[in-house]
Amino acid sequence: MEMLEQGRGELIGWHDPDENRRWVLENKSRELRDKRMSVPQAVREFVHDGDYLAMGGFGHIRVAMAVVYEIIRQRRQHLVLAGKTAVHDADLLIGSGCVDRIEVAYAFAQELRGLSPASRRAVESGACRVVGEISNAGYQWRFLAGMLGVPFIPSRNMLGSDTFTHSACKVARDPWSGKPVCLIPAAYPDVAVFHVPRCDMYGNAQIDGILIMDWELARAARRVIITAEEIVAHEVIQERPWLTAIPFYVVDAVCEVPFGAHPTTMPYLYYFDEEHIGEWLDVSKTPEGTRDYLDRYVYNMSDFAAYLEHIGGATKRAYLEDVEHLRQPLRAPWLQKK
């Protein structure tokens, strides 16, 4: 295959497919065994300094926030983050200093809510380094290649752009059509973390609503932590096995965390907590405000349950359920400024 161009981005998370097969053979059990553990234990065991981390979900959708807070609480360092549309999670992980490198499809902003002051400050000061650019489909296809166990995926996006120039992709001539194609390298994150509505103790995780790129990411990642609104009996999974998006054999830890996506949304259960997100966007405009927020909501909280009480507990949850089901209007501080 004739190589035409090479992106200048740093290649992260790539392994020779045979090396990864060997790793899988040696490290991933095929046994149906009880993988339940606490969030602190899962983070201690499976999230290490320097790891390449990818969070499941997308933007503020279905993000395993209990794990994000625990990573910050355990003060992990030098993590490399998949910015696969990573928003609130990225902002906190960068703002707290846990993540100092990121591959960016989308980060540093919060869609309609505006830009993310904490992570922007970090990237503009050099405290956090962008290792490369990519697009959302590009990232999703990095995981697809990883899941397929192939070294790359050919695609037709990113061509002719600086997104490509600053990516870790290559352009080659397609031996069939003769046209240039983008070669997107596989990605195997060291650890990926997902929040799902239900999962059994073995790790069979079901998702309601859109899958985003969780199907591919879970199968590409070497270690997978699942947090679930509810851990259900294996029989419950067996009743509707077609809903299982992530099969047990790729999963390493299962943690029960009700309301575990707060302040992000859990489709069909609760909507974004825009009041909380708005508070973060407001106070994180200064380094002092960022530190104060992390003290109040993360470091000074013994665990996620204490945090949930602190942000309003059952009352807040009931309100966010109402908003999700269109029974109450959305309240958002950033909305007042529109």
């Binding site: 959708i61 503009e124 037709r156 859109i210 899958l211 985003i212 199907w215 069909y268 209007p329």
Partner: protein, 258 residues
């Protein structure tokens, strides 16, 4: 403009013009904000068969109220499918997506968009979010529509970083780069006007102005010389029905305002 037409706002007008550009029984992949509102309005007006697609996986929803994000549950409310990004982006690459509807930060005369960085990439003056799904949509949709606020800082001679390719540097450049044949920017909508692209040069061309806006004003709000089409149209102001629907779609005023 608002002074002489106090009945509607610039955002309302842009949303209506956006909606009118979309055709019934077509597929449109929309980004956050005005593109979403335009598509939802079109679906409630002249295009009930418009299939709205969201990059995170929602396909063909009847969106009840404006989503905050391209992935929240409003994007697959009463939908044909709650699928995945792989499904949606593959559909885009295989040719099933007629329109891609994007917002932008900076754009040049060839419709190239920058949403990545202001200043050098290695040492950014301002770091912007990056591509998100924009590069994918701008590369792969049959026709791309762009909504952008135009002024001399945003309409620039040459973007310093092509996040999402327009016509790159002229006719044939997209195909030479390997992008799908016949794709590219189709319309650009700003707070002042609607543009298309000259067939022979692939450069931006003024096509229609908003009510009360002069060609000179459009030119003054651009960092490069703008070509003007032989026949220049004027966009119709929002109707009462359109305005009513806009506030029904965005009751909180997230994009449209109160």
């Amino acid at each position: 403009m608002t002074a002489s037409h106090p009945a509607y706002t610039a955002m309302e007008l842009m949303a209506c013009v956006a909606a009118r550009m979309l055709e019934d029984r077509r597929t449109v992949l929309v980004g956050t904000g005005l593109p979403m509102i335009g598509a939802i309005l079109a679906q409630r007006m002249h295009a009930p068969g418009l299939v709205i697609i969201f990059e995170a996986g929602g396909v063909g929803p009847r969106v009840p109220t404006l989503p905050v994000s391209v992935g929240d549950s409003r994007t697959f409310y009463h939908a044909s499918a709650a699928s995945s990004m792989h499904n949606v982006m593959s559909a885009c690459q295989a040719g099933y997506v007629d329109f891609g509807f994007l917002g932008g930060a900076m754009m040049d005369r060839y419709g190239n968009l920058n949403t990545t960085v202001i200043g050098p990439w290695e040492a950014p003056e301002v770091r912007l979010p990056g591509s998100g799904g924009a590069n994918d949509v701008g590369s792969l949709a049959q026709r791309t529509m762009i909504i952008i606020r135009q002024d001399t800082r945003r309409f620039v001679e040459r973007v310093n970083f092509i996040t999402t390719p327009g016509y790159i540097d002229g006719p044939g450049a997209r195909e030479r780069a390997g992008l799908p044949a016949g794709t590219g920017p189709y319309r650009v909508l700003t707070q002042l006007a609607v543009f298309d692209f000259d067939e022979s040069t692939k450069q931006l061309r003024l096509r229609a102005t908003h009510p009360g806006v002069s060609v000179a004003e459009v030119q003054a709000a651009s960092g490069f010389k703008i070509q003007v089409a032989d026949t220049l149209e004027v966009n119709a102001p929002p109707t009462e029905e359109e305005r009513r629907l806009l506030h029904e779609i965005d009751p909180a005023g997230m994009v449209i305002g109160k």
